[in-house]
């Protein structure tokens, strides 16, 4: 799940899809149908097919397992929301760590040729390694500190998309904008702050969104290490106990939260980058 390619693109398509009409999502019958009813129906069909093929389940069974997990919790009495809360906590930690490490590095690689020359090959040689492959080493490195080992996996997953997008964004800085700043006597720090950062912001935001998404996907892998809490852990443990209804419930929750967070990012992006989004339409 974590091995998916990490594209450095801004995916401009995603702006187009969500910008113009998003505000009126429920205001027109067409939007209501196309943006809510149809997607939900398709999702229901997919899960029904999966549940049926896997265990001969119906959605009713899954719904029951879901409610049971929500209210009574798993065999230890831990509810679905508690698992979800713990997962969100770990992913947020890993993501923030990736954000504060990958952004400055991406800016440095994008802006300074020497840094680019030295670090680009290093990055390219590390990037293809799937986060999941780091699990054995992360356990060895962090020994008893399970949370750190898990956060490390998520960090790896989120790091590269943020790094690559930031570099792409910085490279997109218009040289004439730098000349404008220089003509007013701006030093490097001012140029970074007032020209390079805003120029790179759209790509960086996209990088954060993709990075969080991949971090979230690495969750199951990270929680396979153990820890006794978290949605990924729940997927593994319920499957071992043969409670497929609960396994699917946990998966549904992973999908739902990922969806909500992705939308949250898009929402912030759209507000913060009015200049770029309106240009790109």
């Amino acid at each position: 799940m974590c091995e998916m390619t990490q594209s450095p693109s801004t995916s401009p398509g995603s702006y187009d899809e969500h910008s113009a009409e998003e505000d009126g999502i429920l205001h027109s019958p067409r939007n209501f149908l196309f943006k809510l009813v149809f997607p939900v129906l398709i999702l229901l069909v997919i899960w029904e097919v999966v549940a049926y093929v896997a265990r001969g389940f119906s959605l009713i069974d899954v719904g029951q397992a879901f409610l049971e997990l929500m209210i009574e919790g798993d065999t230890d009495g831990v509810t679905l929301m508690e698992h979800a809360g713990r997962s969100i906590y770990r992913v947020t930690l890993g993501f923030l760590l990736a954000l504060v490490t990958a952004s400055p590095l991406g800016i440095a690689i994008g802006r300074y040729r020497a840094v680019n020359d030295v670090l680009s090959p290093v990055v390219e040689a590390l990037r293809p390694i799937p986060p999941i492959a780091w699990i054995p080493l992360s356990i060895l490195m962090f020994r008893t500190n399970l949370v750190a080992a898990q956060v490390f996996i998520i960090w790896i997953g989120a790091f590269f998309p943020i790094l690559l997008n930031t570099t792409t964004g910085v490279n997109r800085t218009n040289p004439v904008h730098i000349d404008v700043a220089r003509s007013f006597g701006a030093d490097e720090q001012v140029i970074l702050h007032k020209i390079v950062l805003p120029s790179a912001a759209p790509e960086m935001f996209a990088g954060f969104r993709i990075g969080f998404g991949i971090g979230w996907m690495c969750l199951v892998a990270a929680e396979m290490i153990g820890g006794g809490l978290g949605l990924g852990y729940l997927v593994i443990i319920t499957q071992q106990l043969g409670r497929t209804g609960q396994t699917i419930s946990a998966m549904l929750m992973i999908g739902l939260i990922g969806f909500l967070i992705s939308y949250l990012f898009l929402y912030v992006e759209k507000r913060a980058l009015r200049w770029r989004i309106e240009v790109s339409i």
């Binding site: 404008v180 700043a181 003509s183 805003p198």
Partner: protein, 259 residues
């Protein structure tokens, strides 16, 4: 003392095959206080290169630039620059664009607001302050760039084809605006153009540059009263003389290539 003195500028660029191409070849000239000086020359003769060196954005191979008698080195901020390409920051509103230079120079927000308000009414863009660059017309964008360069009261304003890429009507209108703002601010202007009509209409003096390696090959003091008529005999005479000089220069360049 001249506002700007350019002394013996040389500049070469590396060319594809490991050698260098000399672009500026011993360029010297002065611009006087409050003068409107235009430079015309063939495309690719090094006008932008010259302006960038004057503005401290590029190092010459040799030669010096003096502003008010003081040597102006790389990174100085005495020159307001209107670039050949569109150069407004797309993420900043008109007002924020205009205030940019003041921010860099650490002027307080209240003072920035006051100065930008003044200059916005000078360029007659009231009501558009909060628009983003893509929400104003090409001509308004040019005026915003002009205001952004002027707001820090630079010693010298350089404009690199500032009025190119506009339709004829907007161009004429902006020429008049440019002259009005020049008068009202008392600025010294170095104006690069490839449009001889425009140079004659606007300038106190016109310098003509040759093809690369570029030298100054002609100088015309435009001795015509203002406001000028574009199609007046006086303007047309200067125009004819300058075009003739450029034509001969073009022939020489072709002959050089042929030989």
């Amino acid at each position: 003392m001249p506002k700007l003195s350019v002394r013996g500028l040389y500049k070469s660029y590396p060319n594809g095959n490991g050698g260098v191409t000399r672009v500026l070849d011993d360029i010297s000239f002065d611009v006087h206080d409050a003068e409107f000086l235009s430079i015309v020359g063939p495309s690719g003769c090094g006008k932008t290169t010259l302006l960038k060196i004057i503005a401290g954005l590029m190092e010459p191979d040799s030669g010096e630039v003096y502003i008010d008698g003081t040597r102006a080195k790389m990174g100085h901020s005495k020159v307001g620059y209107i670039f050949q390409q569109e150069s407004l920051f797309p993420w900043r509103t008109v007002r924020q664009n205009i205030e940019f230079g003041l921010e860099v120079k650490g002027v307080s927000p209240q003072e920035r607001r006051r100065l930008s308000g003044e200059i916005i009414s000078l360029i007659r863009m009231e009501g558009l302050e909060d628009n983003l660059p893509h929400e104003v017309s090409g001509g308004q964008a040019r005026k915003t760039e002009m205001a952004r360069s002027l707001i820090t009261s630079p010693d010298l304003l350089v404009s690199d084809e500032g009025l190119s890429n506009l339709d004829a009507q907007t161009r004429n209108y902006l020429q008049e605006e440019f002259l009005r703002i020049w008068k009202e601010t008392g600025s010294t202007i170095l104006f690069v153009s490839h449009n001889v009509d425009e140079a004659v209409f606007m300038s106190d003096r016109i310098l003509v540059m040759s093809n690369i390696p570029a030298k100054m090959i002609g100088e015309f003091a435009v001795d015509l009263p203002r406001p000028r008529e574009r199609a007046s005999t006086g303007c047309l005479e200067y125009r004819a003389k300058i075009l003739e000089m450029l034509r001969i220069e073009q022939e020489k360049a072709l002959a050089r290539q042929g030989g």
